[in-house]
Amino acid sequence: MSFLEIEDVRKSFGHNEVLKGVTLNVERHEVVCLIGASGSGKSTLLRCVNQLEQVNGGEIHIDGDTVTGAGVDLNKLRRDVGIVFQSYNLFPHMSVLENVMLAPTRVVGISKEEAKEKAMTLLTSVGMQDKSSAYPDMLSGGQQQRVAIVRALAMEPRVMLLDEITAALDPELVGDVLEIVRELAHGGLTMLLATHEMGFAREVASQVCFLDSGSICENGPPEQIFDNPTEPRTQQFLSRVVKSGRL
């Protein structure tokens, strides 16, 4: 049994069917990259995993427990499933440190001192210790995104969802953020990430998943997807990416 099992998940917004039956398994310590054009359903799939969106069909299991449907303790589920968004979504009225400490103190209930110590350790590991008292508006996009990653990590999630976390960054800031994700991958954190950074996906992914208009078109190890894609739609997508200079 896989750690994260996504089984025939369907999701519609009104009449617009965004996910048309997606099945995907993620093993423990595995890094799975979702690639595909904008609107192919990558973000929606991630948001379904931690139930920010309710699925309309299918089931999701984490560590053997069904997390979709009625009666699930969503707050407990979301403690275990961290997510980082494309637009950072830091809380603008709190300092960096308060952003990171909020969930551990309020949700887990550890003491302020303990939470602060832990937050500072994490901030130091991403080079943000000097900015702990700054407010999000004063930081660059790359710095904000590093804080957002730390904020999710502070809850010690068992799986991390990264939703195109470098898509809104200036090109020269992408590297720092990807470096952190690379370290997390080497550290053995289970991750499911949507990305447009093909080079990065090839490097860190153990499995690459090409989504096309709401269903998985092709799925396999990165060498296979990037070097010998079998599906014509995958070939077409990748050749476009190569033309735009992203691979």
Partner: protein
């Protein structure tokens, strides 16, 4: 088609350099406006002096006004000079310098025009007030009527302030209850949501003056125990009923204005709905609610004058009694001045808050 074919810059003729604009026309217009302003102001000054029988104070005021109306001549003259300079430079083929001189000259002439127009308006208003041997001043601004009514008026005004403050405290509480009711989720909350929605719709539809009449005259008849209440408190009840409906909307709109991504971020960290509200949404929403709440508070202060129709001795009722006693409206103007004095600083404060928020958002 290759890219170089799309660009034909080299084959196009160079556009002619832009010529300096004319200055004299603007300067002449400014001069005419200035002269009219001065003439009117001299006339108004003479009337003002005559109206006060050549008193020293009004003579000084009249002289200052006339001197002020002379000021626009100075930038107008600068405008003419700029125009002359432009013509000279253009004649010498110094195009760039001519354009600059023209721009300076036109700006000076426009300033002269603007100040001259303002002088005409001020002089016109003065003339309006002083013609008909001072009928306007006689009707609205009689100082002896102010003297007589001031003491009672200011005492009555305390009732207005008291009613406004007590009402607004109650409004903040009752409005919050309504807003929470309107935001209850799910099917369980549906009936309460409906009740709160109907309440807000009804009390925003009914004119405040109608609510005041119904409450102040109706409550003592319908609920006899309220007969012993201070009638001003009836007014508080009426205004609270009306303004709670508006304030509930402000609360709701304030929370709705926080981007859903903030809620998503908080919930994804495992915070419950209540924790998300308390730690993330409300602190951000409060800042956005303050300006509209202040606006409602200002409206509420002004609407305390509605209590006069219910025989509550607030400032408008008292000054109206003085009006009938003296056959002169000046005491009512005094009531207006009271409202102006307390309201304008608050309005400026709200503007300051809004500007500060706008600057913050622009900076972020």
């Amino acid at each position: 088609m290759s890219t170089p074919d799309l660009v034909e810059v080299e084959t196009l003729p160079a556009p002619p350099p832009s010529q300096p604009q004319r200055v004299t026309g603007v300067a002449v217009t400014a001069l005419v406006v200035d002269v009219v302003g001065i003439a009117l102001m001299v006339f108004a000054g003479l009337l003002l002096r005559d109206y006060n029988h050549g008193g020293i104070f009004s003579t000084i005021v009249a002289i200052i006004l006339v001197l002020g109306s002379l000021y626009p001549l100075w930038p107008t003259i600068q405008g003419f000079r700029g125009g002359a300079k432009r013509n000279r430079l253009l004649h010498n083929d110094e195009l760039v310098a001519a354009r600059r001189a023209s721009a300076r000259g036109r700006e000076d002439a426009t300033i002269g025009l603007g100040y001259g127009a303002a002088a005409i308006i001020v002089a016109g208003l003065l003339l309006l007030g002083l013609t008909n041997s001072g009928a306007v001043a006689e009707t609205f601004f009689r100082t002896d009527a102010w003297h007589q009514s001031f003491g009672e008026a200011i005492q009555a005004f305390w009732i207005n302030i008291w009613v406004a403050v007590v009402s607004f405290v109650l409004v903040l509480i009752f409005g919050l209850i309504l807003a929470i009711m309107r935001m209850l989720p799910g099917r369980a909350g549906a009936p309460l949501r409906l009740i709160a929605t109907v309440y807000c719709d009804v009390f925003r539809a009914v004119p405040a003056i109608v609510t005041v009449l119904l409450v102040v005259f109706g409550l003592p008849l319908a609920f006899t125990f309220t007969q012993r209440w201070n009638p001003a408190f009836m007014g508080v009840v009426a205004l609270t009923l009306t303004y709670s409906a508006y304030v509930a909307e402000v609360y709701r709109a304030g929370l709705a204005s926080i981007h859903p991504s903030q809620s998503a971020a908080a919930r994804s960290l495992g915070l419950s709905y209540a924790q998300t509200l308390r730690a993330v949404l409300v602190p951000q929403a409060v800042r956005r609610m303050v300006p509209p709440l202040m606006n409602d508070f200002i409206s509420l202060q002004k609407d305390t004058a509605l209590l006069s129709i219910a025989a509550i001795p607030e400032v408008l009722l008292v000054t109206k009694l003085w009006e009938s006693k003296l056959f002169n409206l000046s005491p009512v103007t005094l009531a207006a001045v009271f409202f102006i004095v307390i309201t304008i600083p608050q309005a400026r404060f709200v503007d300051h808050l809004i500007n500060r928020d706008a600057a913050k958002r622009a900076g972020g």
